[in-house]
Subunit: 133 residues, 2 copies
DNA sequence: TTCTTGACAAATAATGATTATTATATAATA
DNA sequence: TATTATATAATAATCATTATTTGTCAAGAA
């Protein structure tokens, strides 16, 4: 009945709390976001535990680490291939689930073996648009 | 005769050295790369000067800050719109100058005003492919 | 049940990139 | 050349992240 059984690592309360927070979360939280939220339930939770849990989940492919925000890492529990639309003002991130076919001509690929791609769309979110009057 | 005349900020020797290093540079250097190189000519050069120069150039649109490398900022003096192909092993970066038409259906855009996009291709560079035998 | 072992959590320290501060030096301009 | 604003260098501070250490707990062996 436990959906995390197959993770192959110990399911501690702290880890469960992190998993629950991430479950279905589409806000692309930073480690701090995770920490803040999970701390409510587990006040003794330390930052290091958050990082190590996220790292463990990353290794198991349950979470993606996004390199979108220059200031901090963001994590994404949505592991299906998708793209992101980022607000250049407030750095909020929205998922884009479209498929795009992106080929690189061999002469531009410089001998690389292509493994995948990720598109970052930039824009201004509705909230920030309002603030700018 | 000076191609940097129009920058609208003081042209110190240090800044000129940074500009010369960036000119035509396609290696997407980090601040440390810039510092190391420019230090050869200006041994008293400080890291802070590198950062502030890069920041100033960024504001003037002469340099782009890349958020590709989770470990550090990378800078790109090639300000024409283009994309990047990154080696997941060594983090080397190659430019991709193709144009791709990428539309987001309005219902996915969440009310964002789209301003641009950037594609990150992932792969393994020839050097790292060899190392893996 | 008790012992042993290994993984985990928490606290804390350490690291590394970046930014801020401050006193001095220098470029641009009158 | 003098003035003035801005840049430099040195340094300290900050912030996110990683490493270390010590104590705790859980599961299996004796």
């Amino acid at each position: 009945m436990n959906k995390y059984k197959d993770l192959g690592f110990k399911l501690t309360p702290q880890r469960l709390a992190v998993l629950n927070y991430l479950e279905g979360n589409r806000s692309h939280p930073s480690a701090e976001d995770v920490y803040k939220n999970v701390s409510k339930k587990y006040p003794t939770m330390s930052f290091a535990t958050v990082y190590s849990t996220l790292e463990a989940l990353k290794k198991k492919g349950k979470v993606l680490e996004l390199t979108i925000d220059p200031a901090r890492k963001r994590f994404d529990p949505n592991t299906e291939p998708h793209h992101h639309l980022i607000c250049v003002k407030c750095r909020s991130i929205v998922d884009i689930h479209r498929k795009y076919s992106l080929d690189i001509p061999a002469n531009e690929a410089g001998g690389f073996e292509i493994a995948g791609n990720h598109i970052e769309f930039y824009g201004i979110c509705p909230k920030c648009k309002k603030k700018d009057l």
